[in-house]
């Protein structure tokens, strides 16, 4: 009796072991095709920056340029769009027409003129093939600040689709150079990360080097040769006020802010030796952090403020060292071929970017804070001076073309791909990237 029952049970049970499973082990790593049609104007109106319709087109162009420059997206050519987005389409797009263009994601939005003269930019991101809305947000700003609204929308789309935090709403300060090799004029300049809103900060009378943003973005620290004394200065962006941080008798240079903005680390030459010092900005008191023979320079804080990476030639050649924020525990971390210089700690804290000098070339590389996992990202003649984007994904540096004295700002993605030039009015060097603007 038991055996026939077992047979009946076997017949009635649906076997579960036969679900087909297919392994997909290869794909095609390519930028995501994305469509960014002109933003619709909820109602035609005039603003200080143009009509809302006009603004809608420009906002979409800025977003498309941002996403394309990251190397992870491929904005489709607007000439190929088959539909224009009406205000009703913004929240309910016709996905079929976007699918025929092979767009995988869609960004739509609208621009509204506010009664107080400002604008509201609504930003919507959709997945075309599943017809799902991915993200939406509105940004209220002055009409003149419309670019920042566009950058924030691009950050929203970027972070939703890649999982990274955004970096488009940020600025870059650098040294703008002009003149020949012997009559070089160097000026501080600041611009948006896409090159817009460019303005000069100094007039080029004095040689300026290595400008860096404060975390609150209101101040820049740099080194200037004013009065033929190389010293560290502070520049307040809102007022244009410049001041020297300390009347030191000797050279001071290579300044950087601490992550909380309360202190400055820089190099100072005393008694024939160059060491790293820390200055508390409120009290202007300095404390010595290193004391080794040799040149210690280019200090950079870790994002948690607990460690500092710097460059030293105490071992006979320039190499990268890490120490605790109080100067203890100094140890070398770079052991590759050649020399290593200008280290910068990533805002994500996971990597240190530096310049690898050797075999007749300067190349940009990254390594982990313990020195392992060194990867070289570029391979040209002279690439140096790296700085990180706010999300720790893109590295900006400057490149000198062999045989010429021109320098230009270049950016490269952390994967080593998407090397592209950042256009500046004149030659450029020593870039520094600000944190994300709030």
């Amino acid at each position: 009796m038991r055996i026939p029952l077992l047979l009946v049970a076997l017949l009635l049970a649906t076997p579960a072991a036969a679900v087909l499973r297919v392994d997909i082990n290869t794909g095609i790593a390519q930028p995501l095709p994305i469509a960014v049609p002109a933003f619709a104007a909820t109602a035609p109106a005039a603003t200080q920056a143009g009509t809302t319709t006009d603004l809608g087109a420009r906002v979409a162009a800025v977003i498309a340029a941002d996403l394309g420059s990251s190397g992870l997206f491929r904005p489709l050519d607007p000439a190929a769009y088959t539909t224009t987005v009406t205000p009703g389409d913004v929240t309910a797009p016709q996905f079929a027409s976007w699918r025929t263009l092979a767009a995988q994601a869609l960004v739509t939005g609208n621009v509204t003129a506010n009664p107080d003269g400002g604008i509201t930019v609504g930003c919507y991101a959709y997945d075309v093939f599943s017809s799902e809305e991915l993200a939406r947000q509105g940004f209220v700003t002055t009409a003149a600040n419309w670019r920042r609204a566009a950058h924030k929308c691009a950050d929203l789309v970027y972070s939703r689709l890649t999982g990274e935090t955004g970096y488009f709403d940020s600025r870059i300060v650098y040294v703008s150079e002009t003149g020949g090799k012997t009559k070089r004029i160097k000026r501080l300049a600041v611009m948006d990360q896409d090159g817009a809103n460019h303005r000069f900060l100094t007039n080029g009378q004095n040689l300026v080097l290595t400008p860096r943003f404060a975390p609150n973005q209101q101040t820049i620290t740099y080194m200037s040769f004013a009065d033929n004394k190389p010293r560290v200065w502070l520049y307040t962006l809102g007022t244009g006020h410049q001041e020297v941080v300390g009347e030191f008798p000797n050279m001071s240079f290579a300044p950087r802010f601490s992550p909380d903005g309360s202190a400055l680390v820089f190099s100072m030459a005393t008694g024939g030796n160059t060491d790293i010092f820390r200055m508390d900005l409120a009290s202007r008191r300095i404390s010595r952090l290193t004391d080794a023979p040799g040149i210690d320079t280019a200090p950079s804080y870790a994002p948690d403020g607990a460690h500092i990476v710097f460059e030293s030639d105490r071992g006979g050649s320039q190499q990268v060292y890490v120490m605790n924020a109080d100067g203890s525990g100094q140890h070398r971390i770079s052991f590759g071929d050649g020399r290593a210089a200008t280290p910068v700690w990533s805002p994500r804290g996971d990597l240190i970017a530096f310049t690898r000098l050797g075999a007749g070339k300067f190349r940009i590389g990254v390594m982990k804070p313990d020195g392992s996992g060194e990867r070289l990202l570029t391979s040209a003649y002279q690439d140096e001076g790296p700085t990180w984007s706010p999300n720790g994904r893109v590295i900006l540096f400057f490149r000198t073309v062999q045989g010429r004295s021109t320098t230009a700002l270049m950016s490269v993605d952390l994967s080593g791909q998407n090397e592209r030039r950042l256009k500046t009015p004149l030659d450029a060097s020593d870039p520094a990237w600000s944190p994300l603007l709030p």
Binding site: P4, L11, V19, V22, T26, S130, G163
Partner: protein, 264 residues
């Protein structure tokens, strides 16, 4: 020699001859053979062994669908020996009583039960289930397996070659549509398994569901979501899939395992 002497000799010779002849007759006397032991013999019809315990032909009807055991062939003799004799009879087998052997023509009627004799055939039938007259027949699992297989849904009876080509067909259509994330932290170590339901025309019904995902930590949840979305997009972009209609039962519901670890 006188006549008398010769007559005497002749008479003695004749008597001797007669004696010799009569004794020799005694010696050549044949007797009926006497059986020394009685061996009980059962005669069985040759035809019976063929018909007993024939395995049922594979068919749905003969599959064990109810609680009755498979019926034996109709010509089978009912078990001849009495079933109530589990212990061998201890009486000694040879009996001096001569039993005439059974008549040669086989009888269809059951032979008389002999409970007092040790029935070794009966013993064997108890012990060895493969014998034709075994009391407990073994289950014929070969036919059973066939009938179960035929009764199961078609989807589970997969030909390995068909499955392999089906997997290759699915892979060839979905892999080119998959754009895994470039360069994000940890995405090289992530995998995601999607469950897909397809209609007969190969289009996706409903949405791909994430069944399992590996490599997700607390810190990379955003990357994990972006990674899973690239997998879903790969399926939706390349739908409808072109797959053989006769294997629809196999590909109407399946899983896809996206694993970028081998990509450079």
């Amino acid at each position: 020699m006188t006549e008398r002497q010769s007559l005497l000799i002749a008479g003695v010779a004749h008597l001797a001859l007669l004696a010799a002849l009569s004794i020799g007759f005694e010696l050549n006397h044949r007797e009926f053979p006497v059986p020394e032991e009685i061996v009980p013999v059962e005669l069985v019809q040759i035809a019976d062994t063929v018909k007993v315990a024939e395995p049922p032909k594979p068919s749905i009807k003969s599959a064990p669908q109810d609680s009755a055991p498979p019926p034996p062939a109709p010509e089978t003799q009912p078990t001849p020996a009495p079933p109530k004799e589990p212990v061998p009879d201890p009486t000694p087998a040879p009996k001096p009583k001569p039993t005439p052997p059974q008549p040669a023509p086989p009888k269809p009627a059951p032979p008389k039960p002999q409970p007092k004799l040790l029935d070794t055939a009966e013993l064997s039938n108890l012990i060895d289930k493969t014998l034709p007259k075994a009391k407990v027949k073994p289950l014929d699992t070969s036919a059973l397996a066939k009938s179960i297989e035929k009764a199961l849904p078609k989807a589970t009876r997969v030909d390995p070659r068909a499955t392999a080509t089906l997997q290759a067909a699915i892979r060839a259509q979905i892999a080119p549509c998959w754009n895994p994330p470039i360069g994000g932290a940890d995405v090289k170590r992530m995998t995601v398994v999607l469950h897909i339901e397809l209609g007969r025309d190969g289009s996706v019904s409903g949405r791909p569901e994430v069944v399992a995902q590996t490599g997700v930590t607390g810190g990379n949840a955003d990357y994990a979501r972006a990674f899973a979305e690239t997998a879903k997009r790969a399926v939706l972009r390349c739908a409808p899939l072109r797959l053989p209609a006769e294997l629809y039962e196999q590909w109407k519901s399946f899983e896809l395992n996206f694993d970028p670890s081998e990509m450079t």
